[in-house]
Symmetry: C2
Subunit: 147 residues, 2 copies
DNA sequence: GCGATCCATTGGGAATTCCAACGATCTCGA
DNA sequence: TCGAGATCGTTGGAATTCCCAATGGATCGC
């Protein structure tokens, strides 16, 4: 007898790597989001602020390219970060079309706290694994991602 | 010297397991979605149809619990599946609040085709890994997920 | 110079994910 | 028995994310 029709159809879907990775990713996102919520940041805000910190005075179009975010959303996210005093938009003297976006000292401090919080959330996510297994998972995910 | 301030803040975020899993999951979702698009199904439709097939005549509230979907969304997804002739809503004679949702023969056939397509998409996702590595990734993801 | 390109911003639309409420129905205890 | 509380399917609405287009200003190549 063939295993009748779709009697295990959902179980099959839920055993796929794409589904498993999705669940793990969803839990990870949720844990990190919860961790940094106390800093007043959501995940995209955190990513933009980190990108601004890493790439120094940077144009918004560069942030769009580095992050793969929509240009419109970057505008709104930077509005929020600027109002919160974490980032700063200034005109680029070399190219008056561009904004030179920088992190404020308060932004740097927030980013340092968020880095710790995000690390802790990820430790919680990988708690079921040993350190060696966590490294292995990272390596496999990296290989799949970079392919 | 400490690595000055946030000079690698984005790189740090992008090296977190939660971020990596998110990227891999996004690619996996995209590949599977593309694969089954020809069947007229999106990912949530596929999941609901599979759950209906697996749990036989089933109430929508049970689907909500099995899938973790929102009840409203299940209503809309089932509307679509019913219009496409893949699933059927009938009143449950035992409990007039409930619908007894079943999969149609056409739904079973669609599900069989989607299973193959989803498998192929996942093979593509894990193409960079050997079979042993793929198994290991699955095992690690499963352990993280089930914790 | 001047056309093509780039920049930040604004606008809108589609899809996904949540939360809240409703009328109809069932369950269980007083 | 009957009434309070819970459950069911449904509808409405909000927030977020993603995609595409258009604008006015500025720069670059020819």
């Amino acid at each position: 007898m063939t295993p009748t029709e779709g009697s295990r159809a959902l179980a099959h879907i839920q055993s796929l790597p794409s589904w498993l990775a999705g669940r793990v990713a969803a839990r990870g996102r949720s844990l990190v989001a919860e961790a940094i919520a106390g800093e007043g940041l959501k995940l995209p805000h955190h990513a933009v602020l980190a990108a601004v910190a890493e790439y120094g005075p940077v144009a918004q179009a560069d942030l769009v390219r580095k992050l793969g975010f929509d240009a419109k959303d970057v505008v709104l996210l930077l509005n929020h970060l600027e109002e919160a005093g974490l980032a700063l938009r200034e005109p680029d003297p070399q190219d008056r079309r561009k904004n030179a976006v920088t992190v404020t000292p308060a932004g740097v401090r927030t980013l340092e706290r968020c880095a710790k919080l995000a690390d802790r959330a990820n430790s919680e996510l990988l708690a079921p694994l040993s350190a060696a297994e966590a490294r292995q998972l990272m390596e496999l995910l990296t290989r799949v991602h970079e392919a």
